[in-house]
């Protein structure tokens, strides 16, 4: 049996004390242990930002790439070897800003990876600029008069684009979050978990206290994840309350199953027949 402790890594952590990312890493370990997946059987892919450092702080295989591009790297890796469970860690700026196009494409492909967006509504690594999910009017050193753009709503966007697994988690609800990550990993297809995350250094609006007053679990309260209309309603928080949990889930065909060639097994392991290739080239 794999334990969460098996994911313990002695590499020095580089996050601020009290960072919401700690809750996310712990939930990830719980989820991986619950699935009995040992560190050597999992691949983590990340972009750039505080969130994207996550793979360094738990024991695993990882590819820590470029800002915004983690989903593209994950897509390539998954096509090459679709037996690998792939978790992607990105921040809100990373995924929804720099990587917005890849986010849309990942939904369309339904690439079978689990995307964890550490959504703290601010840029942490670059010290506190407004992000795509910051509220309009959110004041920062550079947005002194407040952010001028309206925030995007990633959950609603994913639903509108036909994503098959959409969840909203909260870094302070470790058990619920661990369970969502586990379900995301089990889901055959693209799974988005937008994680409300606290940034103790640069976001003094959306704090632990702020979230504690607002978040509530929808799955324990009778929400049926197959109900798209209800999901759309929960995608848009109202009345100062933020619904969390598995918002929507439907059966879909994951990308690698849409490629007949991959029915024979992972691309990496398929037999390469030199003589056949020579024959094809001869006849070309």
């Amino acid at each position: 049996m794999v334990e969460a402790a098996d994911y313990q890594c002695d590499f020095e952590n580089k996050w601020c004390p009290g960072c919401g990312n700690f809750g996310i890493v712990n939930a990830m370990k719980d989820a991986l242990a619950a699935l009995d997946l040992p560190p050597e059987k999992v691949l983590l892919v990340s972009g750039i930002g505080q969130a994207a450092k996550t793979p360094h702080f738990l024991k695993c295989n990882f590819f820590h790439g470029l800002h915004g591009r983690a989903l593209a790297v994950a897509t390539g890796a998954k096509i090459a070897n679709h037996d690998i469970p792939v978790l992607v860690n990105m921040g809100d700026g990373d995924c929804y800003g720099e990587g917005g196009n890849h986010f849309l494409a990942a939904i369309r492909r339904n690439i079978d990876v689990t995307l964890l967006v550490h959504d703290n509504r601010v840029y942490g690594l670059t010290k506190g600029q407004a992000s795509p999910t910051s509220d309009r009017g959110f004041v920062t050193r550079i947005q002194a008069e407040g952010a001028r753009s309206d925030p995007m709503n990633p959950v609603a966007l994913a639903l509108s684009q036909g994503a098959g697994f959409v969840a909203r988690g909260y870094c302070g609800s470790k058990e619920q979050l661990g369970d969502l990550i586990r379900q995301g990993l089990e889901y055959p297809g693209f799974s988005l978990i937008d994680i409300l995350q606290v940034c103790v250094s640069f976001n003094h609006v959306n704090t632990y206290d702020w979230y504690r007053e607002r978040v509530f679990d929808i799955n324990g309260n009778g929400h049926q994840p197959g109900d798209l209309q209800a999901a759309m309603k929960y995608a848009h928080p109202e009345g100062g309350r933020i619904p969390t949990g598995l918002i929507y889930r439907k059966e879909t065909v994951p990308f690698t199953q849409r490629i007949p060639r991959l029915n024979a097994g992972p691309l990496l392991g398929q037999k390469y027949d030199r003589d056949k290739v020579q024959g094809l080239i001869q006849g070309a």
């Binding site: 470029l66 096509i79 990496l268 390469y272 080239i281």
Partner: protein
């Protein structure tokens, strides 16, 4: 004097110029002739002015000729634009119902005959029939091609095309043509391939299993050709949401263990720059084909250039090792692709294969066998190769700079990779010893990479003057050297395929034997010329440069070098 005839087919985009060209090319090919077909088209789907230039010979040809012996003008504009290029004794076959043929312009009602044979769409076949008849081809030459092309279509298609071909042949019955020749009845000389197709075949031979791309002329055809094999081989070709996604997908696939590539042109390559650097610092083997076209920005999308050399050398921030290879023939392109993947794996670096629109879009005959290597060495390690897989470090310091490469989820060894500077195990690090250690490790690869580099190919290397170029212009340069020698200039050629790491010793040795050398390049500043200056201290005398987006003609090169020689 052997056969050396050029046919030019011109008209609007959408008129099927390429179809006529391909019918002619196939007919020549199957009769055992050599040929080269160069496409010249505008960036539009309909209208405008496009042409295909088909050079037919009984010897291998790898350059277009400036003379046109037979011009097939499917519209008035072609007639006006290209009439001046007609060689002595040459003729024009003009699609016209007006009649009134004269010594050079022959009016043939191509479209009308096509309609009579069953439809306007067969104008291409009528034109091909008339053209081949004028060249003295036996009727069966085209018939065979038509049977192959339309044999499996619904009833009537083949019959109508045969009828159309016959009406074309009859329309020029009795017309004399000075450049008609005796057609051989031989087996095909090799394989009729486009540059784009041969690049795809090379990738297959190299066991490329994944390719991602974003459509961009003139690179798209490489991927079109590759995707044709998806159902037969362990291969996935994916159209990405952009070039940035394409290169990152390729990096992800390669990291996970399969050989992977992308193909693009300058603008897309610019977008891939950061990914190129990511492959550099993560030491992930990838192959990028950059099919060059004139720039900057969108430039001339459907035209040719060799103007990205400096860019390919320096793309992405800071220093890291990369290979740049620029094949100069179909056979070389096939072999270069096989080598590119092998070099990428062996040295764990990105490899850029530089081609261009002229190379990708032209058809010619590869007359050497395209040999798939017996063995593909992946240079990958597993648990069994390690004393303690738990202690595996992806970026362990080594003398060669190359660290043993394991694959993720392929054993107990954890593979940890970061585009940030890192320590030996792959975790990010800002320690000076890690930065210097990893930077030096990567730079040390140059030594091993340099040993892989081949000297440029030379023709008449002991000549007084040498013409120096790279990539796709090899055929034109070689032919221009023959012209110069026929004109009494003691000239030879130096054609680079391996450009980076720069083969300094070999190049210095070659250049020190001549009195002076001329650069021949399809860019405005002699980019290779200055690289040679930088790496060897040797300076070119003059440069023959062409950057109008059209390929060189050998005579252009020869004339310019000759003029320079006369004043020096």
């Amino acid at each position: 004097m052997g056969i050396d005839v050029t046919v030019k087919i011109g008209g609007e985009a959408g008129q099927g110029i390429q179809t006529v060209g391909e019918l002619l090319a196939r007919a020549c090919y199957q009769s055992g002739l050599y040929l080269m077909a160069v496409n010249d088209f505008e960036s539009r789907i309909r209208g405008g002015h496009s042409f295909m230039q088909l050079r037919i010979s009984d010897r291998p040809v790898m350059a277009p000729d400036h003379r046109v012996h037979l011009l097939i003008a499917l519209n008035e504009r072609t007639l006006q634009t290209h009439r001046s290029e007609i060689a002595e004794g040459g003729r024009v076959l003009f699609d016209s119902e007006a009649g009134g043929s004269d010594q050079s312009v022959l009016h043939v009602p191509v479209t009308k005959l096509a309609r009579e044979a069953g439809g306007r769409i067969m104008a291409n076949t009528v034109a091909a029939g008339a053209c081949l008849a004028m060249l003295g081809a036996p009727d069966k030459a085209l018939e065979q091609v038509l049977r192959q092309r339309f044999g499996d279509k619904k009833t009537g298609v083949l019959e109508n095309n045969l009828k159309a071909a016959k009406s074309g042949v009859e329309a020029v019955a009795g017309v004399s043509f000075d450049w008609a020749f005796q057609w051989p009845d031989k087996a095909p000389a090799g394989k009729l391939l486009s540059g784009a197709r041969v690049l795809a075949l090379g990738a297959l031979a190299a066991e490329c299993r994944f390719a991602a791309f974003y459509p961009m002329s003139p690179a798209t055809d490489v991927m079109v050709n590759l995707s044709g094999f998806e159902t037969q081989l362990p291969l996935v070709v994916e159209q990405a949401e952009g070039e940035i996604a394409a290169v990152n997908m390729v990096i992800g696939a390669s990291f996970a263990g399969v050989r992977a590539m992308t193909a693009t042109s300058g603008g897309g390559f610019a977008l891939m720059s950061e990914g190129l650097g990511l492959a550099g610092i993560t030491e992930t083997p990838i192959v990028i084909i950059n099919s060059q076209r004139p720039g900057p920005a969108t430039g001339l999308p459907t035209r040719t250039a060799q103007a990205d050399l400096r860019f390919m050398l320096h793309a992405a921030q800071d220093d890291f090792p990369r290979f740049i290879l620029a094949p100069g023939s179909l056979e070389s392109a096939f072999e270069t692709m096989v080598r590119a993947f092998a070099l990428a794996d062996k040295h764990q670096v990105p490899v850029i294969v530089a081609t261009d629109q002229y190379f990708n879009d032209s058809l010619a005959i590869a007359d050497k066998t395209l040999e798939v290597p017996e063995h593909v060495d992946r240079h990958i390690v597993g648990d069994a190769d390690m004393e303690d897989p738990a202690a595996y470090k992806r970026f362990v310091f080594t003398d060669s700079g190359v660290s043993p490469r394991a694959l993720p989820c392929n054993g107990r060894a954890l593979v940890m990779v970061s585009g940030n500077e890192h320590q030996e195990d792959g975790h990010i690090s800002e320690r000076i010893s890690d930065r210097i250690g990893q930077m030096d490790k990567r730079q040390r690869k140059f030594e091993g990479m340099q040993k892989e580099m081949r000297a440029p190919e030379t023709v008449y290397p002991d000549s007084r003057v040498l013409l120096v170029g790279w990539g796709s212009t090899a055929g034109m340069i070689r032919e221009s050297v023959e012209m110069l020698r026929d004109g009494g200039v003691d000239a030879g050629a130096v054609c680079f395929t391996d450009i980076w790491p720069f083969p300094e010793t070999e190049v210095t040795e070659i250049l020190d034997r001549c009195q002076r050398f001329y650069m021949v390049e399809q860019n405005a500043t002699a980019q290779l010329g200055w690289l040679i200056r930088e790496r060897t201290g040797r300076k070119f005398a003059q440069a023959v440069l062409k950057y109008d987006g059209r390929p060189f003609f050998p005579l252009e090169i020869a004339d310019k070098v000759k003029a320079c020689e006369e004043v020096s």
